[in-house]
Symmetry: C2
Subunit: 249 residues, 2 copies
């Protein structure tokens, strides 16, 4: 689905592959697929739509690491994209991955013969990723003083992290043809999961340590909320319950 | 359609508006709308889909101007986005505009009640803008020596400039419900127009001057090709003929 690496001017495709195929948990597509499984068995079109969320996540890491942003030389123990390929190629690789996400989700929708479902999924992805979601959170984080309250911290986590998790769940649910109420419930799971995910991440990295005690309590509450939200799906929601509970470890 | 500028963390929306609402010819949406008019009267959904191409064009200018790319301090006589808002916000504003393009095109499709048309349009936009089109051209341009032949110059122009023009025409035609053969003809117009546009731009800026003579001849040929491609549309294609002929001036 990525173009072949031969004839790759500016090492663009190589840079895209470098970050996209780096080891990772692929938690966003997995959650999208788990959301789709609450509706019925998975197919390759739904899988492709869910995978598109990983492209968004991957681009955001490349751009986040840039010198003008977080200025990180390493990402998971390997040189960050701009250290390996230079800043210009890293910017373009991020742009290309972001754009490719919408190519994939549209391709999936054309193949599936359910354009309405996938168009709604594409919109959910754009809204979670963009100026109302993830990018807004990144802008909020820029040079701002650390949040002084748990509420302010959760606003930041909500935009920067949870909006894309919510989009993952929406994409999977919409592509699979879930009913509107089911999509809404799965989206609520995504929001709760995303904030809990970030609290767990802060715990593991000892970030925002001044809120550690309150965040630990919230983590448990959010996981309970997430699980309660998908309880009506019964056995079909078991995987989502599992994912949420795993954040406690 | 852009969120209000109040409560704008990191001045993200302000930065988006700064570049998007700067004076410009809006030639890409205008060509998309002209393509749509070969099918029938315009409506607001088709217009919104065509406008999404301007978001892509705008983001590409912001990222192109960054210090790691072309390092331009000015854009049309005003400070470039990163000079006005800082590099980090400029990167994010570009990312947000790129993402918003797919929000708009999906919104238009949902409203229009023709999801299949707009999903195909979204895919055409992603393909013209991304790793197979515009971004590939930008990567090719990075630090490469200037093209030594007119053919190599047109490969660069084809990716960097014409791919997005082709997408403009496809988006307008697909959203309006054009038949596949009409979409193909309009796409060919877009490619010819785009390369001609860049030759005309080089002429006006005295760029790639070593190819100026050959490029001048090709400009005329490409304009003739573009016009011939839309001749079968008769009066409905008159606006496209006008746009192409205007490049001669």
């Amino acid at each position: 689905m990525l173009p072949p690496a031969d004839g790759d001017p500016g090492r663009l495709v190589e840079a895209m592959r470098y970050s996209l195929l780096a080891p990772g948990k692929r938690i966003r597509p997995l959650l999208g697929m788990a959301a789709a499984e609450t509706v019925g068995p998975l197919d390759d079109d739904v899988r492709l739509a869910c995978a598109s969320v990983e492209l968004i996540h991957c681009y955001s890491l490349i751009h986040d690491d840039l010198p003008a942003m977080d200025d990180d030389d390493f990402r998971r123990g390997r040189p960050s994209n701009h250290k390996a390929f230079g800043e210009a190629t890293a910017i373009l690789a991020g742009d290309a991955l972001l754009t490719l996400a919408f190519d994939w989700i549209a391709e999936a929708g054309e193949r599936a013969g359910h354009p309405g479902r996938y168009l709604r999924a594409a919109r959910a992805l754009a809204q979670g990723a963009g100026v109302r979601g993830m990018v807004r959170g990144q802008a909020r984080d820029l040079g701002a003083p650390p949040p002084t309250t748990l509420e302010a911290l959760e606003v930041l986590h909500g935009e920067k992290t949870a909006a894309l998790f919510e989009a993952s769940l929406r994409v999977g649910a919409l592509a699979a043809g879930a009913a509107p109420e089911a999509v809404a419930a799965l989206a609520r799971y995504g929001t709760a999961y995303g904030i809990a995910f970030q609290h767990a991440d802060d715990r593991d990295d000892a970030e925002h340590a001044e809120h550690a005690g309150a965040a630990r309590a919230r983590l448990g509450t959010l996981i309970d909320q997430a699980c309660a939200t998908v309880a009506p799906f019964g056995a079909a929601g078991a995987r989502l319950v599992e994912f949420a509970r795993a954040l406690l470890r």
